[in-house]
């Protein structure tokens, strides 16, 4: 197909012509697939899931290796200043114990108050626990690969969190792996509020590992550096009271926050059922559009 003129051979000329036709057909097929995957992504869920399953053993296996090597180094580092660390941890533990007693009292009081108000209590349950084993490191989008799939009960639209905070939600699912739309992706918008005073805000990823937070009501900038942003549960997709990020920088009408759950450093990710089951049906189409 490369030579400008294949000579006088009729056969070679036809070959050149047909390879041009084939390439143009390739472009057209590609464009049709692209349009379909942007407009109706649920068409390709099976294929994408299968591809996730194919690469997942490689990713998980290599992840074990890197985690072990990293663990050896941090382990050696911990031995290095064990005495200092021990003293510090003891001090922290004392402080934590006091805080925990307070928290337990508040929790009990809270439960009594809720009972008085007849509020519906949501049972916080866990669908699956997996590891974050990979990410979309060569794309402007922010996805992560999670080592849990449909065989563990994971479905599209379920929120994913770590003990530290919110990670994102499931958008592709295979049998043994799934793809997570991280909170730092620009297409991920989380209804949230400030922990300090409960002011409702909107958290949206910035695509570079940070999150943009804006107040719902226009007016004075309510943020301070060090503020914790938590989910509000509005919309029914994410459960309420899950920490999202900490404000690190203010700008004119909002702030920039760092996610509390850094996907690179968390050991386990917990998949939870969608907070309001009714929202799931709507979410499948939203998650599809977010691709």
């Amino acid at each position: 197909m490369a030579t400008a003129r294949p000579g006088w051979s009729r056969r070679a000329q036809y070959g050149l012509f047909f390879s041009f036709i084939a390439v143009i057909a390739g472009i057209i097929v590609g464009l049709i697939l692209l349009t379909l995957s942007l407009v109706a992504p649920e068409q390709f869920q099976r294929v994408r899931g299968a591809a996730l399953d194919v690469t997942s053993p490689i990713t998980s296996g290599l992840h074990e290796v890197t985690a072990t090597v990293e663990g050896l180094f941090t382990g050696a580092g911990d031995y290095w200043n064990a005495a200092n660390q021990n003293a510090e941890l003891k001090r922290e533990r004392q402080a934590m114990l006091r805080r925990m007693v307070e928290a337990r009292a508040i929790f009990q009081e809270n439960r009594q108050l809720k009972a008085v108000l007849n509020l519906r209590e949501h049972e916080r349950s866990t669908i699956a626990i997996g590891r974050v084993v990979g990410s979309s490191f060569n794309s402007p989008r922010r996805f992560a690969i999670l080592s849990a799939g449909t065989s563990d009960g994971v479905r599209i639209g379920m929120p994913v969190r770590s003990p530290d905070g919110l990670i994102g939600r499931i958008i592709d699912v295979g049998a043994i792996a799934s793809r997570v739309l991280l909170v730092s992706d620009r297409a991920n918008i989380v209804p949230a509020r400030l922990l300090r005073n409960g002011i409702p805000v909107i958290a949206q990823g910035r695509g570079d590992g940070t999150i943009d937070v804006r107040p719902l009501e226009v007016g004075r900038n309510p943020f301070k550096r060090g503020d914790i942003i938590i989910t509000s549960g509005t919309g029914g997709l994410y459960p309420p009271l899950v920490p999202i990020g900490r404000v690190v920088k203010l700008d004119d009408d909002g702030a920039v926050a760092l996610p509390l759950a850094d996907p690179a450093n968390i050991s386990f990710a917990i998949v939870e059922p969608a907070f309001e089951p009714a929202a799931v049906a709507a979410e499948t189409s939203v998650a599809a559009e977010a691709r």
Binding site: V23, V29, L34, G134, S139, R141, P263
Partner: protein, 173 residues
């Protein structure tokens, strides 16, 4: 001098490897599989390995694979990297077509023109990725696409070198 140049350097048993025709396509698939590496990055600054190897082969040789293979190779890349399906299919086929048209025009080439050509193709790739992310409101500001672009363009010569080594190996030279 002349005599030395005329003596055949070819030794008995030295020939292209039996599966030499499939080596380029296999390396492209392997490069696409690199996105299965357990790298957890907060920014998408790594190059599109599959595309780098693809244009590396195509710039080295006019016929590393039949032209229509670009579509299935692109499909494999889309599956493994998580790009919207069809993105690489269309882009890679269009790349084959564009490079064939360019081949008809250019009289000669050297390393620098190839690098510039590769840089333009990589820039188109990154810009298309950004444009498609924009369609679903998932795109960062355009300025954030500069680091991955610069990184990709800088590592292209390395990929081109590796590909030339693989090419020499598969042809038994």
């Amino acid at each position: 001098m002349v005599r030395a140049a005329l003596t055949p350097t070819r030794r008995i048993g030295q020939a292209p490897w039996r599966y030499a025709a499939y080596v380029p396509a296999v390396t492209v698939v392997l490069a696409a599989l690199l996105s299965a590496l357990p790298i957890i990055s907060a920014s998408g600054w790594y190059p599109d390995f599959g595309y780098l190897v693809f244009i590396g082969w195509r710039l080295l040789r006019a016929d590393p694979w039949p032209a229509w293979w670009a579509a299935p190779l692109g499909f494999v890349n889309d599956l493994f990297t998580g790009y919207p399906l069809g993105f690489s299919v269309a882009l890679w086929s269009a790349t084959m077509l564009a490079l064939d048209l360019i081949d008809r025009r250019t009289m000669w080439r050297d390393y620098r023109t190839e690098w510039v050509l590769a840089a333009v193709l990589i820039a188109i790739d990154e810009w298309m990725q950004w444009r498609i992310a924009k369609l679903v409101d998932g795109a960062p500001p355009l300025a954030q696409m500069a680091p991955p672009l610069v990184i990709s363009i800088c590592v292209f010569p390395l990929f081109a070198w590796i590909i030339s080594r693989i090419d020499a190996w598969r042809l038994g030279r």
